[in-house]
């Protein structure tokens, strides 16, 4: 277990190192160099060179890379090109906003999806099960941002019940009630997206367990059906569900670029899109790295959680799931 954890952590560090290389390489592969945009236009070539020199852009790439990496390790994400704002200052508030949006959607999904999936596994092909199937087929095929636009048209424009976009109304900054009103539409969109998979997943996982010998034994002994399901089967059925929940944890921070863009939610996903259009490469680099770190941590957590909740799993021997 300890050995597995150490190896898995080392692997994660390696992957992370490779990601910094990929991101840095991509940015520097930009035509005309990444920092072209940073330099003031209309300067003489000598002055341009001066400016580049002052910013350290004329150093060899490996040196630039390691100095960037060193800054990162000290928590310095760098500055934006245009107004020279510290990236951390614009990044952290957006993470908080994304966390609010995704957290609510995610919790709501878990509360609805897991009980629903389990109920459906005991009533296969019932109306409720068919409905879940229908939702998941539509949810798999529908562009979620389109669903958002349609909801905006119905509930904000036609009926005028809910705010169209943004996080707060103009004069109600910071009021919880106002925030909740603004949350309804984006959360509905995200929840429907998540729901499609989670209901199916918990149902499939439960069905697999209900097929096991020990469940049949329990039934044969005359254990009540309710007890069979909620005491014997449920615990084991939840193991894979917990794993996938842990795998999705990074989303809480990494955000929802499309939903946030549709609803003008000031989160990290929308920031990424805006910065991409503005070609603020240093912000893009910072966000890509940050989200990658979170995803890697989430994967690590999922593996560990899997071993902790399911004592049958012997991770050390299998060499991990990711290989």
């Amino acid at each position: 277990m300890t050995e597995f954890f150490i190896r898995r952590t080392l692997q994660s560090v390696l992957v992370l190192f490779l990601i910094t290389l990929v991101t840095f390489g991509l940015i520097h592969a930009a035509p005309g160099g990444p920092f072209q945009i940073m330099l003031s236009p209309g300067l003489t070539p000598e002055a341009l060179q001066m400016q580049a020199h002052n910013m350290g852009l004329d150093r060899p790439l490996p040196i630039q890379y390691f100095s960037w990496l060193g800054d990162l390790l000290q928590g310095d994400l760098g500055y934006t090109f245009k107004n020279h704002v510290a990236i951390g200052d614009i990044l952290w508030p957006t993470i908080k906003n994304t966390f609010i949006l995704m957290g609510v959607a995610w919790l709501l999904t878990l509360i609805i999806a897991i009980p629903w999936g389990i109920y459906n596994s005991t009533k296969e092909y019932s109306l409720s099960d068919q409905t879940a199937s229908f939702i998941s087929y539509i949810g798999f095929a529908m562009p979620t941002f389109w669903f958002g636009i349609i909801l905006q048209q119905i509930f904000s424009i036609k009926l005028d019940w809910l705010p169209l976009a943004d996080m707060y109304s103009m004069d109600k900054e910071g009021q919880v009630g106002n925030l909740l009103l603004h949350l309804i539409l984006p959360v509905t969109v995200l929840t429907l997206g998540f729901l499609a998979a989670y209901v199916k997943y918990s149902r499939a996982s439960m069905l697999e367990i209900l097929d096991q010998d020990y469940v049949r034994t329990a039934r044969a002994k005359g254990v009540r059906e309710g007890k069979v399901i909620y005491k014997h089967a449920l615990r084991n059925a939840l193991i894979p569900v917990i794993t996938i929940v842990a795998l999705d944890l990074p989303l809480l921070v990494a955000g929802a670029a499309l939903t946030e863009s549709v609803f003008n939610w000031p989160g990290m996903g929308r920031l990424f899109v805006q910065m991409a259009v503005a070609r603020e490469y240093s912000v893009l680099m910072a966000i890509t790295l940050l989200t990658s770190v979170i995803v890697i941590l989430g994967n690590l957590l999922a593996d560990l959680l899997y071993a902790v909740v399911d004592p049958r799993v012997q991770l050390g021997k299998k060499g991990g799931k990711s290989a």
Partner: protein, 323 residues
Amino acid sequence: MSEANMQTSAVISPVEVQAAKPLERPPGPWRTAWSKFRRNPYAMTGLVVLLVFIVSGLAAPWLTKYDPAKIDLLYANLKAGTDAHLLGTDEMGRDIFARLLYSARVSLLVGFAVAAGSVVIGTLVGSFSGYFGGFIDTCFMRLVDVMNSIPLLFLNILVLAIFGTEFSYMIIVLILTSWMSVARLVRGTFLQLREMQYVEAARAIGVSNFGIIFRHLLRNASFPIIVNATLMVGAAILSESALSFLGLGIQAPQTSWGLMLSNAQEFMLVDPLQAVYPGVCILLVVLAVNFIGDGIQDSLNPRQKMSERRIDRWRKSFLKSKI
């Protein structure tokens, strides 16, 4: 494999068979699959819908007399049906029906090109990785780890922001971020099969590594690859529409459903129906492709239901194009 079975059975009982009636060649795996597929109403509906979209995309110049890119502000925002504009015109006077038709070309082209490209790259990586093992395998699998740890929507946006939003760049970047599932699948099959006796026999009679990979091993993975590729078409169409919606994909004067949706959101107050058509088109095409993929899967392996792999694939597409 089934060919080998057929041959042995033919060797064992030639006498009886000749006595009864001329030996009829049993249907091959492709035909068996097709006859099952044909009886699946969902899959057949999907096939018909997809064909309708393909045909209407190809025949677009004959189905409408309007140029999808022609801007004519005198005829902006016409209601559906006026002046032979079947679905009306948008805010710049472009015929909406014509734009829908020409967008079908773009989306289907992206879908099939990305699926084909990912199959080629994924198959090469997966087969070398699984067949040779060792160092090559480790390198490729770390690469897969890296790709799976970077949020792929962000990566797509990043690359398009750096290199520009050319149509070909979008296809390339979508291929480069979707080959991983095929690679894993092929690698898994190869790991299972490379120690089989018939592979050893082939090697003994001097078949080259290349011949073993492409003639003997790869065909065992062909069915799962096809299922995977089908579902990838839908995922790629969703990704394209998402990128175009965000302004980093298809650019005017070209047209795409995602781009139409982004226009429609801007002019939501003028004509709410404009947002409905492109979304319905995306939904229908992706639903059709998914039904076909599921149909193929069922016809090959009817007992396997919503497998973990399918959920996994769905999660990836969710992160990439829907959230």
